[in-house]
Amino acid sequence: MFAATGLLGPAPLPEENLPSDASGLFKSNGLLDAGSSCNDQVPGTAMPHEPLPNFQLNGLLGVQAPTESFQSTTSLQSNHILGELTHNTTPPDFSFTSTGLLGEPSTVENSLSNTSFKTSDSIPCDSQPGVTHKSSIHTTSDYTTAGMSFTRNMLLRSPSPTSREDNLPPISEAFDMQYTNTTSSSKCLPSRPASSFVRATRYDGQTLLLRRKVKNFMPENQGSSTAYSASKIGNLLDIPVHRMLDSLYFLFSLPSYSDSANSQCAQRSQATDSSLWVDRYRPYNFTDLVGNEKVARDAMAWLKSWDRCVFGKSKGRKRAREDQENFELDEYHRPNEKFMLLSGPPGFGKTTLAHVIARHAGYEVMEINASDARSGHVVDERIRPTLESGFAIGSTKPVLLVIDEIDGATGAGDSSNTFIHKLLQLVLAKPKRNPRGKEKQIKSVIMRPIICICNDYNASSLAKLRPNAYQIRFNRPADVHIAKRLKEICHVEGLKADSRALATLVNASKGDFRGCLNTLQLIKTRNEDVTEPVIRRATAGMKQADTNVLSVLNSIFTPVSKKRAKNFVLDEEDETRYVARISREIDGSGRESTVATGCFGHYAKLRRHDATLARHEKANEWLSTYDRFSSAMYTDGDFALQPYLSYTLVPFHPLFKERGGEKVERNQTEWEHLQVTKTNEEIYKSLSGCLRTATSRSCGDFRHLVSSPILQVEFAPYINRIISPPLRPVNSQIIRPQEKTLMNRLVDIMAALDLRFVQERTEDGQLSYRLDPPLDVFVTYDGKRAPDISVSRYAVRHLVAGESKIDAKISARDTDIVEKGKQGKHHFFGNGSRQKGANEGPVGGVRPEGQDIADLPPTDFFGRLITVPTVASLKASNKIIEKPYRVSYKFLEGNSAAVRKPIKVGAFM
């Protein structure tokens, strides 16, 4: 509810009412839309005593100021002191203050209704530590940390419960209501909702806005009473209100003393110099987050679903909300997805989100990022102990593991030693497997949430993690949001910025908030105003960072157009000085070889008239120069040549640039060539494998044909001719003697070389025999076979296959004998891989071996006769069919060690 008001009225605070010394702070406060949401409730508590806190503050400072120097470190100390003092109320001087502070709440209620005007006054003092970070006009980063440690300090000491009860709800309402699903034992206060409600209606000027927000928010709270939720939230707060107030006073005091000591401007400039804007404006509260609200809410909801497991507050009733966010909990009340995987491009605030929600939900963050070693043993050495104990060293908050840049961790592959694998093992381990005592088992379950952050969602190392992770992907937030926040920051920093320039900046950075801020800071240090040309100049590097090969190629082959010239802030002179520009682009792409291939692929396509091919000559000269450079670089490891590589490709620009020329497209030729080459190399490899086998079988006969150029240049073309004689498809019984010898010779050679015809069925159902290994590719150029080789027809191949099989078997048996000594037990079952191939036979291994295949007609899977559909073989197959056939059975293939042997059916009779 209050968050809503905060959002609605970012700065509903009349400035006139401010105390003079706080005006600076207030101003900055007002700028922060989200951050200021905390303003609303604090007024409720502090408002009646507004003068008092100020006074006290001054008083406090009055006591302390003399002792402390104005340096931030000492102020940090004082801060601590302040915190302790207010708490313990030991020294009498300060007991007044602390009691005064603690006493406030009681009066708050009373005065709430009648004071409407003063609320605004009190606002300056209720800026939270987080808020002050944002509005760091007067605080250096040192102060920021001071504030942090201060708050932590407070947490350690449990605040007095009574005062806290009273104080808390309004503050907690500053945070988004939906994160209040922790249950608490505290009773709900009936007055609470009333007061909040009253306040909503109380402001006359703002009533309208408040109402609208209330309406929006109501449905979410319908399940439980508003009162209930409000009181519940109380326990969510890390920091009790009075602590916040304390810190507030402290912060409040700063401008006052800085005023007295020095001019505020000086302070500010000092601050500017000392820290990066990225750090200074990093969101510290959930409500500060910009853009991607859905993402932030989802992430928070996931984290909150751990509460029952981590904080063990299971006594409270289940909230209606929890039903909506259906995180199914397992037996340990953990959500089913043990990880959360945040993914998105850099600068979108992933890490920040993780830290913010962790802090918000009350965890201590343990971060592991790329600066740590991230191999598997890290899991055992660092992560496991921490997660099992559940607390970081020296901390009382439960630990939350943030693994940043997890896509860089080891995890790809099947190795069980990778980071991801170990992590999964650790978290998903089923304790039941441990055969130990029951307590032990439960202890080994990891009860802490883990947030993983990555850029590349599809990284191969994350493959195993993804199914177990609650995945949240960051989208580019609307430019408007970023631009708005940038504008605020510029305003705070006193940087003049026009909206268009900022929009350009956001656009150029593609939503990278960090990049935007850094650019702005750069501009600020140069004391420039933020205008479009300045932005263009500053983001020039950003644009170049992600040049891909295609864009590089396009800029090589096309002259710079007017429009692009404007984009790049180039003038005529730059246009003529292309060398540096293009070589930088090529370098930037980082893939010179791809660019070179692209140039090679494209230059010959261009149409410009080149009568003597002079330009082509030059281009080729440069290409071969490039190749010499690069291969010298890679073979000799002489990487000093690297910077020169890009220059060898620059000449393509003057040679071939042409306006309106064909656009460079991704060239597939090279890639296809590579694929084909690889396939053919494989075939050569299997062919040489065949030759080697043949060598060992026939006492070193073929070995001289294996060596590299001979195999491709001489053996491959001629063996194709040798194994494809012009045979006629006739039955082996009636074949002419001359052809018979030819065929025997053919079969002999094929068997010796382990060449086989493998039966296959084409798409249209026709049977065909394929040569295996497919040597015929070597006589096939441009998809055409050599004309002098007769096409061997199905029937011929069938004939040969039949014969060939027998021979293959014989040769297999031969080698069996040879190799029996070596692999005594193997030969009995498997016959080794080579012989297995031979035994399988060409005809799909359906028929038993040892039968004369020539006597058998082609049969289908079930052993039935089939007529061969090819016309060419019709005659032959008819003849085959006329033969009486025998029934044959084949043992089922399987993993049995039984002796397999073809037996005639007669044997069973």
Binding site: T612, L623, D627, V706, L742
Partner: protein, 356 residues
């Protein structure tokens, strides 16, 4: 059953068909008991390896023909596994280090040391040493050759090395000086005819002299090729009568097509066409050097006398670059464009640059 190339390969020095003088010398060397390291060099298909195995047989007797084939795995420093095939008998071992590519040094170092440090176990062996045959010695890397030098001297008592190479130009001088150089020249056409006739007789048919002449002419002094062609021819047209066409290897035919393309037109479009064809050749794993050589020879055949020298010069020029470089297609195309440009200039005999 083997191919004729292997089936009718001479097994002893006495049965070798040509280079009698060489055979005699080898024989006397083998029986002298002072067998040196040797380097056989000569064109492909001249019979180097046949001679080597005949010499081995002369040295050790028929036991050397009991071969077994092994695969040895070498581990590179970067933990990559390299498989090298070994052919070995009790008395010798035959390796092709170029199978290991850039890591041939490892093969040489590990394997040779291992062999060199073990003495001949077989007491009945004729010689005290083992022989290591290194095939394709001219493709040994510089490192490997350097590794070879010292080993050749140090382990002389246990080991002799026989290198086989096409030319000695790529071998470093120290290696050459440690070896006895044996040049095996390509056989003359008459010798080839004799061999073919012998093969035909052994295979049981008559080879008409015209066919034999044609084969010899076509094979260019490569005996292995000639016998392969003969066998292919016999398979294709068993009666060997009538007009015979000697089948050229397909890649060669294709290379000739490319050459014709280059000559018939010179334009960027034609460059693209030629490029596609070159890709096709390269993807069939035809060595780029051979492609360049074949195309260049064909082009030279067809162009005017005045151009021949230039074309060959540039072919040589780009061949060197190709060996140095890694993107073969770049250099092939560079040469093609160069030839086209030369041809065009020559054909029009005018300076065309003004037309640009």
């Amino acid at each position: 059953m083997s191919l004729w190339v292997d089936q009718f390969r001479p097994r002893t020095l006495d049965t070798l068909h040509y280079h009698r003088g060489l055979s005699e010398r080898l024989k006397s060397l083998a029986s002298s008991g002072d067998f040196p390291h040797m380097l056989f060099y000569g064109p492909s298909g001249a019979g180097k390896k046949t001679r080597v195995s005949c010499t081995l047989r002369q040295l050790f007797g028929p036991g050397v023909e009991k071969l077994k084939i092994d695969q040895r795995v070498f581990l590179t420093p970067s933990k990559r596994k390299i498989e090298v095939n070994l052919v070995q008998s009790n008395y010798h071992i035959e390796i092709t280090p170029s199978e290991a590519g850039n890591h041939d040094r490892l093969v040489i170092q590990d394997l040779l040391k291992e062999i060199a440090q073990t003495q001949q176990v077989d007491l009945g062996a004729k010689q005290r040493f083992k022989v290591v045959i290194i095939n394709e010695a001219d493709s040994l890397s510089r490192d490997a050759q350097a590794a070879l030098r010292r080993t050749m001297e140090k382990y002389m008592s246990n080991m002799r090395i026989i290198l086989c190479a096409n030319s000695t130009s790529r071998l470093i001088a120290p290696i050459k000086s440690r070896c006895l150089l044996m040049r095996v020249a390509a056989p003359s056409s008459e010798e080839m005819n004799n061999v073919l006739a012998y093969v035909a007789r052994r295979a049981g048919f008559d080879l008409p002299p015209e066919a034999s002449d044609k084969i010899v002419e076509d094979s260019g002094g490569n005996m292995r090729k000639a016998i392969l062609v003969l066998e292919a021819l016999k398979m294709q047209s068993p009666d060997l009568t009538g007009p015979l066409t000697i089948a050229k290897p397909d890649w060669e035919v294709y290379c000739h097509k490319v050459a014709d393309l280059i000559i018939s037109e010179q334009s960027p479009a034609r460059v693209m066409e030629v490029r596609a064809k070159l890709y096709e050749l390269l993807s069939h794993c035809i060595p780029p050097t051979i492609i360049l050589k074949t195309i260049a020879e064909r082009v030279v055949d067809k162009v005017d006398e005045a151009l021949k020298a230039d074309i060959m010069h540039w072919a040589a020029f780009y061949e060197v670059r190709m060996r140095v470089g890694s993107k073969k297609i770049f250099h092939l195309e560079a040469w093609v464009v160069k030839v086209m440009s030369l041809y065009k200039h020559f054909f029009y005999n005018i300076d065309m640059s003004e037309f640009d």
